[in-house]
C-alpha cells in the first residue's frame, strides 16, 4: 500500500490572458486578448515530478510563470498550503518565493554577468536570511556547489568562464540554496548538448531524492519528460489535452494530439524509424489570439468532425489506467 499522496499545489481553472495591442481598433470593437493559459486545472503531489509538454506557444511557460507571480493571473486559483496565492500578502509572497524556485532555459541569460558565481548563489540567502555571518554564507554556498557538482575553486569566477552545462548547474545551485519545496524547471536542458543534457537530468533526479523536492519539469522533448516525470500533462494552445501518469500516457495515449506528438519523435533506432508509418499532423499551431472554436486542436486533428467545432471538450477521466484524463469528445 502506498501512503496517501499529499497535494502540494493545486491549480483551479487558471486563466492567463494577455492584452494585445490592436492597430486601428475602433472604440466599439472588442479588445483582443491572447489566451496563453485557458481554464487549466491540475494538482501536483509532494515529492513528484510533473512533466509539462507541448509545442512552442502552447502556454507551458506562461503557466509556470503565473505560479510564482511573474505573470498576472486573469482568473482562477492557485492554492499553495491551502490558500490562494492571489490573496497573499506581501509577507506571504516573500515566503512563497523561498519555497518555490525557478530554473530558467537559457543559463547565461539568467545569470548576472557582473556577479561572481559565489555572489549569484549567495544572493537568495542574503535576502531571505539576512544578518548571518560571512562564514555561514560561504559555507552554505560551498555545500550547495559541491552538491551540484561545482568545485570550490570556481566560487570567484564569472558566468562567462563557464560552459552551458556548468552555467545550468549554477542556476540549479542558486535555486536550491534556500531548500525550496517546489522547483520549477523551464526547459532546463534544451539549450544543452546531449551528453551534457544527460548529466543535468541525472543531477536533478539525485537532488530530488536528496532534498525531497517536488519538480515541475517543462520541456518540449517528450523523451526527456518521460525519463524524469511521474505525471505528464500535454498542453496545446493554452489548454490541457491529456493528463496521466507517465506509463499510461506513453503506452496508451488517448488524445489524437498526444498520439501525433509521440509519433513525431524521431527514435534513435534506424530499424524502428525507417519502418515507422508516421501519423503526420498537417499545418502549424493556430494563433492563440484567434483560437479555433470548440476544440482548439480540431484544425489539425485527423479525426475531427463537425461536432468538434461546437463543443469545447472538458478534461474528463477515462477508463484507461488510473486518473488518466483526456479532453476529447471522440475518446
Amino acid at each position: 500500500m502506498t501512503p496517501e499522496k499529499k497535494v502540494l499545489l493545486e491549480v483551479k481553472n487558471l486563466k492567463v490572458y494577455f492584452k494585445v495591442k490592436t492597430k486601428n481598433r475602433l472604440p466599439w470593437q472588442a479588445k483582443k486578448k491572447l489566451k496563453a493559459v485557458d481554464d487549466v486545472s491540475f494538482s501536483i503531489y509532494e515529492g513528484e515530478t510533473l512533466g509539462v509538454v507541448g509545442e512552442s506557444g502552447c502556454g507551458k511557460t506562461s503557466l509556470a510563470r503565473s505560479l510564482i507571480g511573474l505573470n498576472p493571473i486573469s482568473s482562477g486559483e492557485v492554492i499553495w498550503k491551502g490558500k490562494n496565492i492571489a490573496k497573499f500578502s506581501s509577507k506571504e509572497w516573500f515566503l512563497l518565493r523561498s519555497e518555490i524556485q525557478y530554473v530558467f532555459q537559457d543559463p547565461f541569460a539568467s545569470l548576472d554577468p557582473r556577479y561572481t558565481v559565489g555572489e549569484i548563489i549567495a544572493e537568495p540567502l542574503t535576502v531571505h536570511e539576512p544578518g548571518k555571518s560571512q562564514a555561514y554564507y560561504r559555507e552554505q554556498v560551498l555545500t550547495i556547489m559541491q552538491k551540484v557538482g561545482l568545485t570550490e575553486k570556481m566560487i570567484n569566477r564569472y558566468p562567462h568562464e563557464f560552459s552551458g552545462g556548468q552555467a545550468q548547474r549554477i542556476g540549479i545551485a542558486r535555486a536550491l540554496i534556500l531548500r525550496p519545496k517546489l522547483l520549477i524547471c523551464d526547459e532546463p536542458v534544451s539549450a544543452l548538448d546531449v551528453s551534457i543534457q544527460a548529466q543535468v537530468i541525472n543531477l536533478l533526479q539525485d537532488l530530488q531524492k536528496e532534498f525531497g523536492l517536488t519538480i515541475i519539469f517543462i520541456a518540449h522533448n517528450l523523451s526527456v519528460v518521460k525519463h524524469i516525470s511521474n505525471h505528464v500533462m500535454v498542453m496545446y494552445l493554452g489548454k490541457i489535452m491529456e493528463y496521466a501518469d507517465k506509463y499510461s500516457l506513453y503506452h496508451m495515449p488517448q488524445h489524437p494530439y498526444t498520439q501525433a506528438l509521440l509519433a513525431s519523435i524521431p527514435e534513435p533506432d534506424p530499424v524502428v524509424e525507417k519502418s515507422k508509418k508516421a501519423v503526420l499532423l498537417e499545418g502549424d499551431l493556430p494563433s492563440p489570439i484567434n483560437p479555433p472554436t470548440g476544440c482548439v486542436f480540431r484544425t489539425r486533428c485527423p479525426i475531427a468532425s463537425a461536432e468538434c467545432a461546437e463543443i469545447i471538450p472538458a478534461l474528463e477521466n477515462t477508463n484507461v489506467g488510473a486518473a488518466h484524463q483526456v479532453a476529447c469528445i471522440k475518446v
Binding site: S163, V194, A198, H227, P270, L285
Partner: protein, 324 residues
C-alpha cells in the same frame, strides 16, 4: 553508384586574437550520388565548418587545406566567380534558422526568381512560374498568392519550406542541410523531414544532413560520420552504427539519449565537457572523458581501422596488435 563528393584531409584553422583554433582536423569522407550522409556531433565539433568549407562560406580568418572534389572538380581555392556558379546551382544549402537566411525586405518572389535569373538566365516571368511550381512541390498551400508574401508572414515551418523550395530551384545534385529542423517543433520537424526524404527521391539528389539529434539521423540518413572536437571519429552505415557503435564517444552519445521505449533508472552520461579548441592536447581529444582510456590515448591520435564493410573507427581499442 558514382562518387559525387570527395573530401580528403580537410583541415580548417581559424586565426583569432587568442590564438589558432583548430576547428576541423584532417577530415576525409566520400559521398555517393543519391546518398544521404549524416554528420553528427555536439556543438563546437566542427560540423558546420566542414560544410562551410565545401560551400566556400568560411570567414576570412580561416585557413583551409586538403581537398574537396565535387564531380571531379576541386572546389578549394576556386575564385569567387567560379564558386558562385556552382553555389546555388549544383550545390545548395539550407540553414538552421530560416528567418535569418531570408531577406526580410524582399518578397519571396524576388528572392526566388533571383536564383533562376542568375543561374539559368530566365526572364522574371518564367522564373515566377517555375518558383510557384516549386512552392507547390514543397506543399505550400495557395502558392500563387503566397509567393508575394514577405518572410515574416510565414510560420517557422513554412519558412523552412520556402528555403527548401529556393534551394531546389536549380535542381542541385547536392543539398546540404545544416540543422534544418533544430528550430522547429517536433510535429513540424516530422513534416520537414518527410518532405526532405520525398524531394530527395523526386529530384535524385544527394544530401548532407548536419544534426545533433541521433533520432533524426536514424530516420533520414544512409551513412553517418560522427565528429568530435574537429575529428571524424567513426563512420558507418546507419544501421550498423546504431546496432554496434564502436567508438566510446558514439556509445556514450547513444546512451545519453532518453528513449521512449525503455525505462532506465539513470541515463548513461559522458563525464566532463568538450575540450577547449584553443588548447587541444596531444592524443585523442576524447581521452579525458573516455571510460576506456589507455596511456597511449593521451599521447597519440589513433589512425583509423576498418571495422567491417564500409565502416571505420579511430580508437586505440581497435588497434589490438599495435598496442603493447
Amino acid at each position: 553508384m558514382a562518387t559525387l563528393l570527395e573530401v580528403n584531409n580537410l583541415t580548417i584553422d581559424f586565426t583569432t586574437r587568442n590564438g589558432t583554433i583548430h576547428a576541423v582536423d584532417s577530415a576525409s569522407f566520400i559521398l555517393q550520388e543519391g546518398q544521404t550522409l549524416g554528420i553528427v556531433g555536439e556543438s563546437g565539433s566542427g560540423k558546420s565548418q566542414t560544410v562551410g568549407a565545401i560551400m566556400g562560406l568560411l570567414p576570412n580568418n580561416a585557413t583551409v587545406s586538403g581537398s574537396v572534389k565535387f564531380q571531379g572538380q576541386e572546389l578549394l581555392g576556386l575564385d569567387a566567380k567560379a564558386m558562385n556558379k556552382i553555389r546555388g546551382d549544383r550545390i545548395c544549402m539550407i540553414f538552421q534558422d530560416p528567418m535569418s537566411s531570408l531577406n526580410p525586405y524582399l518578397t519571396i518572389e524576388r528572392q526566388m526568381t533571383e536564383v533562376l535569373c542568375l543561374h539559368k538566365g530566365m526572364s522574371r516571368k518564367d522564373a515566377k512560374i517555375e518558383s510557384i511550381k516549386m512552392l507547390d512541390a514543397v506543399k505550400i498551400p495557395e502558392a500563387k498568392q503566397r509567393i508575394n508574401y514577405y518572410p515574416h508572414e510565414f510560420s517557422g515551418g513554412m519558412r523552412q519550406r520556402v528555403m527548401i523550395a529556393m534551394a531546389l530551384l536549380c535542381r542541385p545534385k547536392l543539398l546540404i542541410a545544416d540543422e534544418p529542423t533544430t528550430a522547429l517543433d517536433v510535429t513540424v520537424q516530422a513534416q520537414i523531414l518527410n518532405l526532405l526524404a520525398e524531394i530527395k527521391q523526386e529530384f535524385h539528389m544527394a544530401m548532407i544532413l548536419i544534426t545533433h539529434d541521433m533520432g533524426v539521423v536514424a530516420g533520414s540518413c544512409d551513412y553517418v560520420e560522427v565528429m568530435y572536437a574537429g575529428k571524424l571519429v567513426e563512420n558507418a552505415p546507419v544501421e550498423a552504427l546504431f546496432a554496434t557503435p564502436k567508438h566510446p564517444y558514439t556509445q556514450g552519445l547513444l546512451g545519453a539519449i532518453p528513449k521512449l521505449n525503455d525505462n532506465l533508472e539513470k541515463l548513461i552520461t559522458i563525464p566532463g565537457e568538450l575540450p577547449n579548441a584553443l588548447h587541444p592536447h596531444a592524443g585523442c581529444p576524447f581521452a579525458d572523458r573516455c571510460s576506456k582510456v589507455m596511456d597511449i590515448c593521451r599521447t597519440q591520435m589513433p589512425g583509423s581501422t576498418s571495422e567491417g564493410p564500409d565502416r571505420s573507427v579511430k580508437c586505440w581499442l581497435y588497434h589490438s596488435g599495435e598496442v603493447a
